[in-house]
Symmetry: C2
């Protein structure tokens, strides 16, 4: 029974991500989540104490779903730790993140909603900081070239590249985006 | 009379920016704009054919208000065209853009709304592309070091830096943000 509840909760949170991306933070109601998850009206409100709980769990779930799988991590560790491998990893990362289009758009909605909700802001701040620290730590133990400043600068550039791609996809062509990812690593990571 | 209409239109568009930042794209109604501008109900609907017109004019107005004034441009042109000047200009740019907090947040709301409204997406795509081209052209005639790729990479990194600052201001401290702007120019612009 606990397992079934966990599965249903995860399904509701996934439904919340889709609603956030499609309707915006203001469109995220328990009712909309019930409809999206195709469950009886009133289900979501049984699983989440309030809207803040639903919003923060949706944010955490996006990060969870964006983690690379074991196979990807193993493949990454097998590469020669040089700038070319770093650039290839970053192109893969951009592909993975932008491939979960609704997840990334939901995170942007949550960031904007966080300007209005201090509790959500506190939770997201912790999450983003932990993610950034994990990126730096993962990079350090990978043996790839580049310091913590390089990791942060690449994080900044790639995030906005993904914003461009997902919100105004015709500003930069796919080929230009690929070139920019490679150039970011080549220039920011000192040889 | 035409002049007075122009002033009122500008005031309504400015009010729309505030509503967008505070309430999100879904909260942007003619009624909300009338209230924000403190004009009689029905005024905004006399000035804009529909919501799309209001949204696109709000976007254009943010870009207009973000332009540097003559004094700033003159001061910029007076500097020695080296990386230090470039970094100083970028710190100033980040300060100017993030200083118009509601304008930048309104643009983010418009980008998310553009994923749902093809007409708005077309107008914003043109605007952002023109802005990016203008940045490259301005840079080329400035004599500052760095090529078009550098301008684009710095544009990417600084935009997300501003997103961090405006949505989750505690992820990076002000000192860290300043250091990152300087490091972005130092590393991306080849010496």
């Amino acid at each position: 029974m606990v397992r079934r509840n966990d599965e249903r909760r995860a399904a509701l949170v996934d439904a919340a991500i889709e609603v956030l991306a499609r309707e915006g933070a203001r469109g995220l109601t328990f009712r909309a989540v019930d409809t999206e998850a195709a469950v009886p009206p009133g289900t979501a409100s049984n699983y989440f104490a309030n809207r803040d709980a639903l919003l923060t769990q949706a944010g955490a779930r996006v990060y969870e779903r964006l983690q690379p799988d074991e196979e990807t991590i193993a493949r990454q560790r097998a590469g020669t730790p040089d700038r070319e491998t770093y650039a290839a990893l970053m192109r893969e990362l951009v592909g993975r993140v932008s491939g979960f289009r609704t997840g990334y758009l939901a995170l942007l909605e949550l960031r904007l909603e966080a300007t209005r909700r201090p509790q959500l802001r506190a939770v997201l701040t912790e999450r983003v900081r932990a993610d950034l620290d994990a990126n730096v730590a993962y990079h350090e133990q990978s043996g790839l070239p580049g310091d913590a400043t390089a990791v942060r600068l690449i994080y900044l550039a790639l995030n906005w590249l993904i914003v461009e791609q997902l919100t105004l996809p015709e500003v930069l062509s796919e080929a230009e985006r690929e070139r920019l990812v490679t150039a970011a690593v080549e220039r920011i990571v000192e040889a």
